[in-house]
Symmetry: C3
Subunit: 131 residues, 3 copies
Amino acid sequence: MNKLNLRTNKKNEIIDITEDIRRLTESSGIKNGICTVFCPHTTGAITINEAYDSSVKTDLMFSLDKISPVYKEFRHAEGNSDAHVKSSLIGLSLNLIINKEKLIIGQWQGIFFVEFDGPRNREVYVKFISE
Amino acid sequence: MNKLNLRTNKKNEIIDITEDIRRLTESSGIKNGICTVFCPHTTGAITINEAYDSSVKTDLMFSLDKISPVYKEFRHAEGNSDAHVKSSLIGLSLNLIINKEKLIIGQWQGIFFVEFDGPRNREVYVKFISE
Amino acid sequence: MNKLNLRTNKKNEIIDITEDIRRLTESSGIKNGICTVFCPHTTGAITINEAYDSSVKTDLMFSLDKISPVYKEFRHAEGNSDAHVKSSLIGLSLNLIINKEKLIIGQWQGIFFVEFDGPRNREVYVKFISE
């Protein structure tokens, strides 16, 4: 199992980890198989979206704050339930395909770690399975 | 393939299945690999979130009812389209990493079956793949 | 790695790809394992929901338009940020279980490619891993 270590800088932040995953894929020696990317944090998430225009990340975060606002009815004492909800909405486990030694994602796609309750030190776990 | 059998007791309910998955992992004999957890129901879901403070589960369900309310425009005759929407938002397939015979999740994380249209008898399917 | 080619016809559309995945499963020769279904597009998604009553698809799309509307604050110049948000909410990677040469999904479930920014030509990638 491989680990990425990330440092996030604010409450809502998207960190592009595509090149980290690509580097791990190449050094894994795997030819064909899959790769599981897992976020072990309850206020973070893993997703894939457009990496080319960074305004997509901005708009995604804007919408997520509308979708999961802070409600006065929340009971969790830490006050970050909006972040927990966003984590389950976006999801924290992703499966990628490795084909002919290459990580297969779309032309405009990037793999993102999504921080909903930073700044924090974060980890991402990566596991390769050969076919 | 392994199956868990669950009984849910109300419309919205979160059942912690972490120990069930851990027990299956240990009895599988797998050393390193991945584990797919799958919900075969269209008004249930599988997610991971904080297991320590149960108020996170309460707040998650509260927000999901705001995010996916019952709309008068719904056409599905069973009247549970809000539950179908929640199922696709949260997701029903999850991939976990097994490392050195251990199920790898974060310190505060638990694996949840999420019921959106109970009470019902439910199943969760679990499949292990060795590296 | 297998590829499905799809043609979508409008902005919001759900295409049932269950039979395509089933056919690929049977021709793969795999007995027991998993199957990763991946969408390489940033305004599409993959989900599972009820296939039997098509009004579930209609209601799902209706709700998603409410959950992720077009905001005037959006910065992405292409004007389709609502579609990018929906893609990350629904998710674009799914793991299925293959057991005794059969694709395992629930009785009422179908596997859907979800188009949020059509009409377009789309691909879905499918990878099988034997246990």
